[in-house]
Protein backbone atom coordinates (compact mmCIF):
# COMPACT_ATOMS: atom_id res chain seq x y z
CA UNK A 1 0.00 0.00 0.00
CA UNK A 2 1.35 3.41 -0.95
CA UNK A 3 0.34 5.60 1.97
CA UNK A 4 1.43 8.71 0.08
CA UNK A 5 -0.90 8.15 -2.88
CA UNK A 6 -3.82 10.46 -3.47
CA UNK A 7 -6.18 7.48 -3.66
CA UNK A 8 -5.06 6.18 -0.26
CA UNK A 9 -5.41 9.62 1.32
CA UNK A 10 -8.90 9.94 -0.14
CA UNK A 11 -9.87 6.52 1.21
CA UNK A 12 -8.50 7.34 4.67
CA UNK A 13 -10.58 10.50 4.81
CA UNK A 14 -13.72 8.95 3.31
CA UNK A 15 -13.59 5.87 5.56
CA UNK A 16 -13.22 8.10 8.63
CA UNK A 17 -16.27 10.14 7.61
CA UNK A 18 -18.49 7.06 7.30
CA UNK A 19 -18.81 6.75 11.08
CA UNK A 20 -17.69 10.13 12.36
CA UNK A 21 -19.00 13.30 10.82
CA UNK A 22 -16.50 15.91 11.94
CA UNK A 23 -17.40 19.50 11.08
CA UNK A 24 -13.78 19.85 10.04
CA UNK A 25 -13.83 16.90 7.62
CA UNK A 26 -10.55 16.39 5.82
CA UNK A 27 -10.26 18.80 2.85
CA UNK A 28 -10.03 15.81 0.50
CA UNK A 29 -13.62 14.83 1.29
CA UNK A 30 -15.18 17.95 2.83
CA UNK A 31 -16.88 18.76 -0.48
CA UNK A 32 -18.39 15.27 -0.49
CA UNK A 33 -19.35 15.04 3.17
CA UNK A 34 -21.20 18.37 2.87
CA UNK A 35 -23.57 16.99 0.23
CA UNK A 36 -26.85 15.65 1.67
CA UNK A 37 -26.47 12.57 -0.53
CA UNK A 38 -23.36 11.53 1.42
CA UNK A 39 -25.85 10.24 3.99
CA UNK A 40 -26.71 7.42 1.56
CA UNK A 41 -23.24 5.96 2.10
CA UNK A 42 -23.32 6.46 5.85
CA UNK A 43 -26.81 4.95 6.10
CA UNK A 44 -26.09 2.01 3.80
CA UNK A 45 -22.94 1.04 5.67
CA UNK A 46 -24.60 1.37 9.07
CA UNK A 47 -27.78 -0.41 7.97
CA UNK A 48 -25.80 -3.26 6.45
CA UNK A 49 -23.84 -3.77 9.67
CA UNK A 50 -26.83 -3.43 12.01
CA UNK A 51 -28.97 -5.72 9.83
CA UNK A 52 -26.18 -8.29 9.99
CA UNK A 53 -26.03 -8.11 13.79
CA UNK A 54 -29.80 -8.41 14.01
CA UNK A 55 -29.71 -11.46 11.74
CA UNK A 56 -26.84 -13.00 13.69
CA UNK A 57 -28.26 -12.32 17.18
CA UNK A 58 -32.02 -12.94 16.82
CA UNK A 59 -32.57 -14.11 20.41
CA UNK A 60 -30.95 -10.96 21.79
CA UNK A 61 -33.02 -8.81 19.41
CA UNK A 62 -36.22 -10.55 20.46
CA UNK A 63 -35.41 -10.14 24.15
CA UNK A 64 -34.71 -6.42 24.05
CA UNK A 65 -36.95 -5.37 21.16
CA UNK A 66 -35.91 -4.06 17.78
CA UNK A 67 -35.41 -0.39 18.68
CA UNK A 68 -33.20 -1.12 21.68
CA UNK A 69 -31.28 -3.71 19.73
CA UNK A 70 -30.59 -1.49 16.73
CA UNK A 71 -29.46 1.39 18.91
CA UNK A 72 -27.05 -0.86 20.81
CA UNK A 73 -25.87 -2.48 17.58
CA UNK A 74 -25.15 0.92 16.02
CA UNK A 75 -22.87 1.79 18.94
CA UNK A 76 -21.03 -1.46 18.52
CA UNK A 77 -20.67 -0.99 14.75
CA UNK A 78 -19.11 2.44 15.14
CA UNK A 79 -16.46 1.02 17.47
CA UNK A 80 -15.99 -2.36 15.86
CA UNK A 81 -16.87 -2.28 12.16
CA UNK A 82 -16.69 -5.63 10.39
CA UNK A 83 -13.24 -6.88 9.53
CA UNK A 84 -14.31 -9.75 7.30
CA UNK A 85 -15.74 -9.39 3.79
CA UNK A 86 -18.66 -11.59 4.78
CA UNK A 87 -21.27 -10.40 7.27
CA UNK A 88 -22.47 -13.95 7.97
CA UNK A 89 -20.08 -14.12 10.89
CA UNK A 90 -20.03 -10.47 11.94
CA UNK A 91 -20.36 -9.93 15.67
CA UNK A 92 -17.69 -12.04 17.35
CA UNK A 93 -17.09 -9.15 19.78
CA UNK A 94 -20.78 -8.30 20.24
CA UNK A 95 -21.37 -10.55 23.29
CA UNK A 96 -18.50 -8.98 25.22
CA UNK A 97 -19.65 -5.53 24.11
CA UNK A 98 -23.06 -6.28 25.65
CA UNK A 99 -21.43 -7.41 28.90
CA UNK A 100 -19.98 -3.91 29.39
CA UNK A 101 -22.73 -1.88 27.71
CA UNK A 102 -24.15 0.33 30.48
CA UNK A 103 -27.80 0.32 29.31
CA UNK A 104 -27.69 -3.51 29.49
CA UNK A 105 -26.67 -3.53 33.15
CA UNK A 106 -30.21 -4.59 34.16
CA UNK A 107 -30.01 -7.59 31.83
CA UNK A 108 -26.97 -9.47 33.12
CA UNK A 109 -27.89 -12.56 31.07
CA UNK A 110 -27.85 -10.71 27.72
CA UNK A 111 -24.20 -11.31 26.86
CA UNK A 112 -24.55 -15.05 27.45
CA UNK A 113 -27.69 -15.21 25.32
CA UNK A 114 -25.61 -13.49 22.63
CA UNK A 115 -22.93 -16.15 23.11
CA UNK A 116 -25.47 -18.87 22.28
CA UNK A 117 -26.61 -16.95 19.20
CA UNK A 118 -22.96 -16.84 18.23
CA UNK A 119 -22.56 -20.60 18.72
CA UNK A 120 -25.59 -21.12 16.46
CA UNK A 121 -23.85 -19.10 13.71
CA UNK A 122 -20.70 -21.18 14.16
CA UNK A 123 -22.65 -24.42 14.04
CA UNK A 124 -24.55 -23.34 10.93
CA UNK A 125 -21.46 -22.63 8.82
CA UNK A 126 -19.04 -25.22 10.18
CA UNK A 127 -17.52 -27.85 7.92
CA UNK A 128 -19.53 -30.94 7.04
CA UNK A 129 -18.84 -34.12 9.00
CA UNK A 130 -20.41 -37.54 9.40
CA UNK A 131 -22.64 -38.36 12.37
CA UNK A 132 -22.36 -41.55 14.43
CA UNK A 133 -25.67 -43.38 14.44
CA UNK A 134 -26.91 -44.84 17.74
CA UNK A 135 -26.84 -48.39 16.35
CA UNK A 136 -23.14 -48.07 15.35
CA UNK A 137 -22.43 -46.96 18.86
CA UNK A 138 -24.41 -49.74 20.50
CA UNK A 139 -22.40 -52.30 18.55
CA UNK A 140 -19.24 -51.38 20.46
CA UNK A 141 -18.05 -53.55 23.32
CA UNK A 142 -17.94 -51.46 26.52
CA UNK A 143 -14.27 -52.15 27.25
CA UNK A 144 -13.18 -51.05 23.80
CA UNK A 145 -15.32 -47.97 24.24
CA UNK A 146 -13.56 -46.92 27.45
CA UNK A 147 -10.25 -46.71 25.59
CA UNK A 148 -11.69 -45.09 22.47
CA UNK A 149 -11.99 -41.39 21.77
CA UNK A 150 -15.18 -39.68 20.57
CA UNK A 151 -14.59 -36.92 18.08
CA UNK A 152 -17.20 -34.15 18.23
CA UNK A 153 -18.84 -33.26 14.89
CA UNK A 154 -17.23 -30.10 13.55
CA UNK A 155 -20.56 -28.27 13.89
CA UNK A 156 -21.12 -29.32 17.52
CA UNK A 157 -21.03 -26.44 20.01
CA UNK A 158 -21.70 -26.44 23.73
CA UNK A 159 -21.54 -24.09 26.70
CA UNK A 160 -22.27 -24.22 30.40
CA UNK A 161 -23.51 -21.20 32.36
CA UNK A 162 -23.08 -21.82 36.06
CA UNK A 163 -25.40 -19.20 37.52
CA UNK A 164 -28.09 -18.42 34.99
CA UNK A 165 -30.74 -20.37 33.03
CA UNK A 166 -29.27 -19.15 29.75
CA UNK A 167 -30.48 -22.13 27.77
CA UNK A 168 -34.11 -21.56 28.73
CA UNK A 169 -33.92 -17.82 28.05
CA UNK A 170 -32.12 -18.30 24.76
CA UNK A 171 -34.18 -21.17 23.36
CA UNK A 172 -37.48 -19.43 24.11
CA UNK A 173 -36.30 -16.34 22.28
CA UNK A 174 -34.45 -18.06 19.47
CA UNK A 175 -37.49 -19.65 17.89
CA UNK A 176 -40.13 -17.65 19.73
CA UNK A 177 -42.26 -20.61 20.78
CA UNK A 178 -41.72 -20.41 24.54
CA UNK A 179 -44.65 -21.79 26.50
CA UNK A 180 -44.45 -18.97 29.01
CA UNK A 181 -43.91 -21.32 31.95
CA UNK A 182 -41.74 -20.16 34.83
CA UNK A 183 -37.99 -20.55 34.44
CA UNK A 184 -36.12 -21.98 37.40
CA UNK A 185 -33.24 -19.63 38.18
CA UNK A 186 -30.31 -22.06 38.10
CA UNK A 187 -27.28 -22.76 35.95
CA UNK A 188 -27.94 -24.30 32.54
CA UNK A 189 -25.95 -25.41 29.54
CA UNK A 190 -26.69 -25.83 25.86
CA UNK A 191 -25.76 -28.33 23.19
CA UNK A 192 -26.02 -27.30 19.54
CA UNK A 193 -25.68 -29.90 16.82
CA UNK A 194 -26.26 -30.06 13.10
CA UNK A 195 -27.52 -33.50 12.13
CA UNK A 196 -29.07 -33.62 8.65
CA UNK A 197 -27.93 -30.09 7.84
CA UNK A 198 -30.17 -28.31 10.35
CA UNK A 199 -28.95 -26.70 13.58
CA UNK A 200 -30.72 -28.28 16.57
CA UNK A 201 -30.38 -27.59 20.27
CA UNK A 202 -31.09 -29.23 23.60
CA UNK A 203 -30.15 -28.60 27.22
CA UNK A 204 -26.83 -29.94 28.47
CA UNK A 205 -25.82 -30.30 32.09
CA UNK A 206 -22.41 -29.43 33.46
CA UNK A 207 -21.24 -33.05 33.39
CA UNK A 208 -22.18 -33.28 29.70
CA UNK A 209 -20.23 -30.12 29.00
CA UNK A 210 -17.14 -31.46 30.80
CA UNK A 211 -17.45 -34.73 28.91
CA UNK A 212 -17.47 -32.90 25.56
CA UNK A 213 -14.59 -30.67 26.65
CA UNK A 214 -12.56 -33.82 27.28
CA UNK A 215 -13.58 -35.31 23.91
CA UNK A 216 -12.48 -32.10 22.19
CA UNK A 217 -9.10 -32.45 23.93
CA UNK A 218 -8.88 -35.95 22.39
CA UNK A 219 -9.04 -37.71 25.76
CA UNK A 220 -10.42 -41.26 25.98
CA UNK A 221 -14.01 -42.01 26.90
CA UNK A 222 -12.70 -43.26 30.25
CA UNK A 223 -11.01 -39.92 30.96
CA UNK A 224 -14.01 -37.99 29.69
CA UNK A 225 -16.28 -39.93 32.05
CA UNK A 226 -13.97 -39.15 34.93
CA UNK A 227 -14.09 -35.46 34.02
CA UNK A 228 -17.89 -35.60 34.03
CA UNK A 229 -17.95 -37.32 37.42
CA UNK A 230 -15.65 -34.68 38.89
CA UNK A 231 -18.37 -32.06 38.54
CA UNK A 232 -21.27 -34.43 39.25
CA UNK A 233 -20.53 -37.64 41.11
CA UNK A 234 -24.13 -38.76 40.51
CA UNK A 235 -24.02 -38.21 36.73
CA UNK A 236 -25.77 -40.93 34.69
CA UNK A 237 -23.01 -41.60 32.21
CA UNK A 238 -25.02 -43.93 30.00
CA UNK A 239 -27.74 -41.33 29.64
CA UNK A 240 -25.13 -38.62 29.11
CA UNK A 241 -23.43 -40.46 26.23
CA UNK A 242 -26.73 -41.60 24.70
CA UNK A 243 -27.89 -38.01 24.71
CA UNK A 244 -24.80 -36.89 22.78
CA UNK A 245 -25.09 -39.70 20.24
CA UNK A 246 -28.79 -39.12 19.75
CA UNK A 247 -28.21 -35.39 19.23
CA UNK A 248 -25.68 -36.08 16.49
CA UNK A 249 -22.90 -34.46 18.49
CA UNK A 250 -20.27 -37.10 17.68
CA UNK A 251 -18.86 -37.77 14.25
CA UNK A 252 -16.27 -40.49 14.81
CA UNK A 253 -15.24 -43.18 17.26
CA UNK A 254 -11.48 -43.48 17.16
CA UNK A 255 -10.09 -46.74 18.51
CA UNK A 256 -6.57 -47.27 19.74
CA UNK A 257 -3.98 -44.78 20.94
Amino acid sequence: MNAASRLASFQDAFAHSLFALPPDAHPLVSGIVRQPAFAVYRNTVMKGCVDALQANFPAVARLVGEDWFRAAAAEHVAHRPPTEPTLLTYGDAFPSFLSTFAPAADLPYLADVARLDRLWTEAHGAADDPVIAPRDFMALDPEALAGARLQPHRATRWAWFADTPIYSIWSRNRDGDGDGSAIEWAGEGALLTRPDGVVMWRPLDEAGGRFLDACARELTVQRAMEAALEVDAEADLVALISNLIEAGAISRIIQGP
Binding site: M1, R6, Q35, P36, A37, V45, P85, A127, D128, R154
Partner: protein, 278 residues
Protein backbone atom coordinates in the same frame (compact mmCIF):
# COMPACT_ATOMS: atom_id res chain seq x y z
CA UNK B 1 -24.36 -27.46 -18.63
CA UNK B 2 -24.35 -25.81 -22.05
CA UNK B 3 -27.71 -24.06 -22.04
CA UNK B 4 -27.78 -20.40 -23.13
CA UNK B 5 -28.14 -17.90 -20.31
CA UNK B 6 -30.99 -15.52 -20.97
CA UNK B 7 -32.44 -13.89 -17.90
CA UNK B 8 -31.63 -14.79 -14.32
CA UNK B 9 -32.57 -13.90 -10.76
CA UNK B 10 -30.62 -13.04 -7.66
CA UNK B 11 -30.94 -16.07 -5.39
CA UNK B 12 -32.42 -15.40 -1.95
CA UNK B 13 -32.57 -18.02 0.83
CA UNK B 14 -36.40 -17.85 1.22
CA UNK B 15 -36.63 -18.92 -2.45
CA UNK B 16 -34.21 -21.85 -2.38
CA UNK B 17 -36.80 -24.56 -2.95
CA UNK B 18 -38.77 -22.69 -5.60
CA UNK B 19 -35.52 -21.77 -7.37
CA UNK B 20 -34.33 -25.36 -7.40
CA UNK B 21 -37.62 -26.67 -8.76
CA UNK B 22 -38.20 -23.98 -11.40
CA UNK B 23 -37.86 -25.18 -15.00
CA UNK B 24 -38.08 -21.86 -16.88
CA UNK B 25 -36.00 -21.79 -20.07
CA UNK B 26 -32.69 -19.96 -19.87
CA UNK B 27 -33.05 -19.35 -16.13
CA UNK B 28 -29.90 -18.87 -14.08
CA UNK B 29 -29.15 -17.57 -10.59
CA UNK B 30 -26.68 -15.13 -9.16
CA UNK B 31 -25.30 -15.01 -5.62
CA UNK B 32 -22.87 -12.87 -3.69
CA UNK B 33 -19.97 -15.25 -3.06
CA UNK B 34 -19.35 -13.62 0.32
CA UNK B 35 -22.67 -15.08 1.50
CA UNK B 36 -21.26 -18.55 0.88
CA UNK B 37 -17.87 -18.08 2.53
CA UNK B 38 -18.68 -20.85 5.01
CA UNK B 39 -16.92 -24.15 5.41
CA UNK B 40 -20.03 -26.28 5.09
CA UNK B 41 -23.59 -26.61 6.28
CA UNK B 42 -27.00 -25.89 4.77
CA UNK B 43 -26.13 -22.70 2.86
CA UNK B 44 -23.45 -24.37 0.83
CA UNK B 45 -25.58 -27.49 0.44
CA UNK B 46 -28.42 -25.43 -1.02
CA UNK B 47 -26.15 -23.62 -3.45
CA UNK B 48 -24.70 -26.92 -4.55
CA UNK B 49 -28.14 -28.42 -5.05
CA UNK B 50 -29.36 -25.44 -7.09
CA UNK B 51 -26.18 -25.60 -9.14
CA UNK B 52 -26.95 -29.16 -10.19
CA UNK B 53 -30.04 -27.82 -12.00
CA UNK B 54 -29.18 -24.22 -12.99
CA UNK B 55 -26.17 -22.15 -14.03
CA UNK B 56 -24.94 -19.93 -11.19
CA UNK B 57 -23.09 -16.62 -11.39
CA UNK B 58 -20.84 -15.27 -8.62
CA UNK B 59 -21.30 -11.51 -8.15
CA UNK B 60 -18.83 -10.20 -5.58
CA UNK B 61 -19.48 -7.15 -3.45
CA UNK B 62 -16.46 -7.04 -1.16
CA UNK B 63 -13.27 -7.59 -3.12
CA UNK B 64 -12.69 -3.83 -2.99
CA UNK B 65 -10.85 -3.64 -6.30
CA UNK B 66 -10.74 0.17 -6.22
CA UNK B 67 -9.00 0.34 -2.85
CA UNK B 68 -5.39 1.44 -2.99
CA UNK B 69 -4.30 -1.95 -1.68
CA UNK B 70 -3.74 -5.40 -3.11
CA UNK B 71 -6.82 -7.63 -2.93
CA UNK B 72 -7.02 -9.66 0.28
CA UNK B 73 -5.27 -12.98 -0.36
CA UNK B 74 -7.60 -14.90 1.93
CA UNK B 75 -10.64 -13.46 0.19
CA UNK B 76 -9.21 -14.46 -3.21
CA UNK B 77 -8.47 -17.97 -1.94
CA UNK B 78 -12.04 -18.37 -0.67
CA UNK B 79 -13.41 -17.02 -3.95
CA UNK B 80 -11.24 -19.44 -5.89
CA UNK B 81 -12.41 -22.36 -3.76
CA UNK B 82 -16.06 -21.38 -4.18
CA UNK B 83 -15.62 -20.92 -7.94
CA UNK B 84 -13.98 -24.34 -8.22
CA UNK B 85 -16.87 -25.81 -6.22
CA UNK B 86 -19.68 -24.08 -8.14
CA UNK B 87 -18.10 -23.71 -11.61
CA UNK B 88 -19.87 -20.39 -12.17
CA UNK B 89 -21.18 -19.34 -15.56
CA UNK B 90 -20.03 -15.76 -14.82
CA UNK B 91 -17.96 -13.97 -12.19
CA UNK B 92 -18.28 -10.25 -11.55
CA UNK B 93 -17.29 -7.45 -9.17
CA UNK B 94 -17.68 -3.67 -8.90
CA UNK B 95 -15.77 -0.55 -9.79
CA UNK B 96 -15.74 0.45 -6.14
CA UNK B 97 -14.00 -0.06 -2.82
CA UNK B 98 -15.45 -1.46 0.40
CA UNK B 99 -12.52 -2.65 2.50
CA UNK B 100 -9.87 -0.34 3.82
CA UNK B 101 -7.07 -0.86 6.37
CA UNK B 102 -8.69 -3.92 7.88
CA UNK B 103 -12.27 -2.63 8.10
CA UNK B 104 -15.07 -3.77 5.80
CA UNK B 105 -17.82 -1.31 4.86
CA UNK B 106 -20.80 -3.09 3.31
CA UNK B 107 -21.32 -0.63 0.47
CA UNK B 108 -19.82 0.22 -2.91
CA UNK B 109 -17.83 3.37 -2.25
CA UNK B 110 -16.79 5.98 -4.83
CA UNK B 111 -13.38 7.49 -5.62
CA UNK B 112 -11.88 10.00 -8.06
CA UNK B 113 -11.23 8.26 -11.38
CA UNK B 114 -7.61 9.30 -11.83
CA UNK B 115 -4.88 7.69 -13.90
CA UNK B 116 -3.25 6.71 -10.60
CA UNK B 117 -6.44 4.88 -9.56
CA UNK B 118 -6.64 3.27 -12.99
CA UNK B 119 -3.16 1.76 -12.59
CA UNK B 120 -4.06 0.36 -9.19
CA UNK B 121 -7.41 -1.06 -10.27
CA UNK B 122 -5.95 -2.69 -13.38
CA UNK B 123 -3.31 -4.37 -11.22
CA UNK B 124 -6.02 -5.52 -8.80
CA UNK B 125 -8.32 -6.84 -11.53
CA UNK B 126 -5.44 -8.75 -13.10
CA UNK B 127 -4.43 -10.18 -9.73
CA UNK B 128 -8.03 -11.26 -9.06
CA UNK B 129 -8.47 -12.87 -12.49
CA UNK B 130 -5.21 -14.72 -12.07
CA UNK B 131 -6.03 -15.86 -8.53
CA UNK B 132 -9.40 -17.31 -9.44
CA UNK B 133 -8.40 -18.46 -12.91
CA UNK B 134 -11.40 -16.83 -14.55
CA UNK B 135 -12.39 -13.68 -16.41
CA UNK B 136 -14.24 -11.15 -14.26
CA UNK B 137 -16.83 -8.60 -15.37
CA UNK B 138 -16.61 -5.19 -13.67
CA UNK B 139 -19.83 -3.30 -12.88
CA UNK B 140 -20.59 0.41 -12.97
CA UNK B 141 -21.77 1.44 -9.47
CA UNK B 142 -24.56 3.85 -8.49
CA UNK B 143 -23.45 7.40 -7.77
CA UNK B 144 -24.88 9.73 -5.18
CA UNK B 145 -22.32 12.50 -4.64
CA UNK B 146 -20.28 14.77 -6.87
CA UNK B 147 -16.58 14.10 -6.58
CA UNK B 148 -13.87 16.52 -7.65
CA UNK B 149 -10.75 15.37 -9.39
CA UNK B 150 -12.02 12.87 -11.95
CA UNK B 151 -9.53 12.60 -14.81
CA UNK B 152 -11.59 9.99 -16.68
CA UNK B 153 -15.27 9.63 -17.42
CA UNK B 154 -16.71 6.35 -16.19
CA UNK B 155 -17.18 4.65 -19.55
CA UNK B 156 -13.68 5.53 -20.70
CA UNK B 157 -12.29 4.31 -17.40
CA UNK B 158 -14.15 0.98 -17.55
CA UNK B 159 -13.24 0.46 -21.21
CA UNK B 160 -9.58 1.10 -20.43
CA UNK B 161 -9.62 -1.42 -17.57
CA UNK B 162 -11.17 -3.98 -19.93
CA UNK B 163 -8.59 -3.19 -22.61
CA UNK B 164 -5.61 -3.47 -20.29
CA UNK B 165 -6.67 -6.50 -18.25
CA UNK B 166 -8.90 -8.45 -20.64
CA UNK B 167 -11.69 -8.32 -18.08
CA UNK B 168 -15.33 -8.03 -19.12
CA UNK B 169 -17.86 -5.41 -18.10
CA UNK B 170 -21.21 -5.64 -16.38
CA UNK B 171 -23.62 -2.82 -17.14
CA UNK B 172 -26.18 -2.14 -14.43
CA UNK B 173 -28.87 -0.18 -16.24
CA UNK B 174 -30.61 0.87 -13.04
CA UNK B 175 -27.31 2.23 -11.70
CA UNK B 176 -27.02 4.33 -14.86
CA UNK B 177 -30.55 5.64 -14.38
CA UNK B 178 -30.00 6.42 -10.69
CA UNK B 179 -26.60 8.03 -11.28
CA UNK B 180 -27.87 10.08 -14.22
CA UNK B 181 -30.71 11.43 -12.09
CA UNK B 182 -28.44 12.18 -9.13
CA UNK B 183 -25.52 13.68 -11.01
CA UNK B 184 -27.44 15.20 -13.90
CA UNK B 185 -26.24 13.40 -16.99
CA UNK B 186 -28.10 11.81 -19.91
CA UNK B 187 -28.75 8.14 -19.18
CA UNK B 188 -29.51 7.34 -22.83
CA UNK B 189 -26.23 8.83 -24.00
CA UNK B 190 -24.44 6.70 -21.40
CA UNK B 191 -26.23 3.53 -22.51
CA UNK B 192 -25.49 4.35 -26.17
CA UNK B 193 -21.79 4.91 -25.49
CA UNK B 194 -21.16 1.79 -23.43
CA UNK B 195 -18.75 -0.54 -25.26
CA UNK B 196 -20.49 -3.62 -26.62
CA UNK B 197 -17.67 -6.09 -27.04
CA UNK B 198 -16.54 -6.48 -23.39
CA UNK B 199 -20.15 -6.46 -22.12
CA UNK B 200 -20.69 -9.86 -20.48
CA UNK B 201 -23.76 -9.22 -18.34
CA UNK B 202 -26.53 -6.73 -17.67
CA UNK B 203 -28.20 -5.97 -14.34
CA UNK B 204 -31.68 -4.60 -13.78
CA UNK B 205 -33.14 -3.58 -10.44
CA UNK B 206 -35.61 -1.28 -8.78
CA UNK B 207 -34.75 2.01 -7.08
CA UNK B 208 -36.54 4.34 -4.70
CA UNK B 209 -36.60 8.00 -3.79
CA UNK B 210 -34.71 9.15 -0.73
CA UNK B 211 -37.20 9.64 2.12
CA UNK B 212 -35.88 13.15 2.81
CA UNK B 213 -34.84 14.47 -0.58
CA UNK B 214 -37.50 12.78 -2.73
CA UNK B 215 -36.90 12.68 -6.48
CA UNK B 216 -33.76 14.80 -6.13
CA UNK B 217 -31.99 11.73 -4.77
CA UNK B 218 -32.64 8.25 -6.13
CA UNK B 219 -31.29 5.30 -4.18
CA UNK B 220 -30.32 1.96 -5.72
CA UNK B 221 -32.39 0.18 -3.11
CA UNK B 222 -33.23 -3.12 -4.86
CA UNK B 223 -36.55 -3.04 -3.00
CA UNK B 224 -38.97 -2.52 -5.87
CA UNK B 225 -39.74 -3.82 -9.36
CA UNK B 226 -37.65 -2.54 -12.26
CA UNK B 227 -39.07 0.83 -13.36
CA UNK B 228 -40.50 1.37 -16.85
CA UNK B 229 -37.81 3.98 -17.54
CA UNK B 230 -35.12 1.38 -16.79
CA UNK B 231 -36.87 -1.20 -18.99
CA UNK B 232 -36.84 1.33 -21.83
CA UNK B 233 -33.11 1.90 -21.40
CA UNK B 234 -32.56 -1.85 -21.29
CA UNK B 235 -34.47 -2.47 -24.51
CA UNK B 236 -32.52 0.33 -26.15
CA UNK B 237 -29.26 -1.32 -25.03
CA UNK B 238 -30.17 -4.81 -26.19
CA UNK B 239 -31.36 -3.49 -29.55
CA UNK B 240 -27.87 -2.07 -30.09
CA UNK B 241 -25.55 -4.68 -28.55
CA UNK B 242 -27.62 -7.85 -28.97
CA UNK B 243 -28.67 -10.34 -26.31
CA UNK B 244 -26.62 -10.53 -23.09
CA UNK B 245 -27.21 -12.51 -19.90
CA UNK B 246 -29.51 -10.28 -17.87
CA UNK B 247 -30.17 -10.40 -14.15
CA UNK B 248 -33.03 -9.03 -12.07
CA UNK B 249 -31.73 -8.05 -8.63
CA UNK B 250 -34.08 -7.86 -5.67
CA UNK B 251 -32.79 -7.75 -2.09
CA UNK B 252 -35.38 -6.00 0.02
CA UNK B 253 -39.18 -6.16 0.36
CA UNK B 254 -38.82 -9.54 -1.26
CA UNK B 255 -41.95 -10.74 -3.09
CA UNK B 256 -42.67 -14.41 -3.67
CA UNK B 257 -40.65 -16.31 -6.23
CA UNK B 258 -43.44 -16.37 -8.83
CA UNK B 259 -43.65 -12.57 -8.84
CA UNK B 260 -39.92 -12.25 -9.40
CA UNK B 261 -40.05 -14.93 -12.07
CA UNK B 262 -42.73 -12.97 -13.96
CA UNK B 263 -40.45 -9.90 -13.92
CA UNK B 264 -37.56 -12.05 -15.05
CA UNK B 265 -39.67 -13.47 -17.89
CA UNK B 266 -39.96 -10.00 -19.36
CA UNK B 267 -36.18 -9.82 -19.69
CA UNK B 268 -36.09 -13.40 -20.95
CA UNK B 269 -38.54 -12.57 -23.74
CA UNK B 270 -36.49 -9.50 -24.73
CA UNK B 271 -33.21 -11.41 -24.77
CA UNK B 272 -34.69 -14.43 -26.56
CA UNK B 273 -36.37 -12.21 -29.18
CA UNK B 274 -33.12 -10.44 -29.99
CA UNK B 275 -31.26 -13.74 -29.90
CA UNK B 276 -33.59 -15.10 -32.60
CA UNK B 277 -33.29 -11.93 -34.65
CA UNK B 278 -29.50 -11.98 -34.44
Amino acid sequence: MSQVLTAGLGLKPPHYEAARDCRAAGLWFEVHPENYFVEGGPRRAWLSEIRTRHPVSLHGVALSLAADAVPDARHLARLRALADFIEPALVSEHLAWSAWRGAYFPDLLPFPRTSEALERICANVSAAQEAIGRRIAIENPSHYVRIDGHEWDEIGFLAEIARRTGCGLLLDVNNVFVSAANLGFDSRAYIDAFPASPLMEVHLAGHSEDPNLGERLLVDSHDAPVSEAVWALYERLIARVGPRPTLIERDDRLPDFETLLAERDRAHVAVAAFARAA
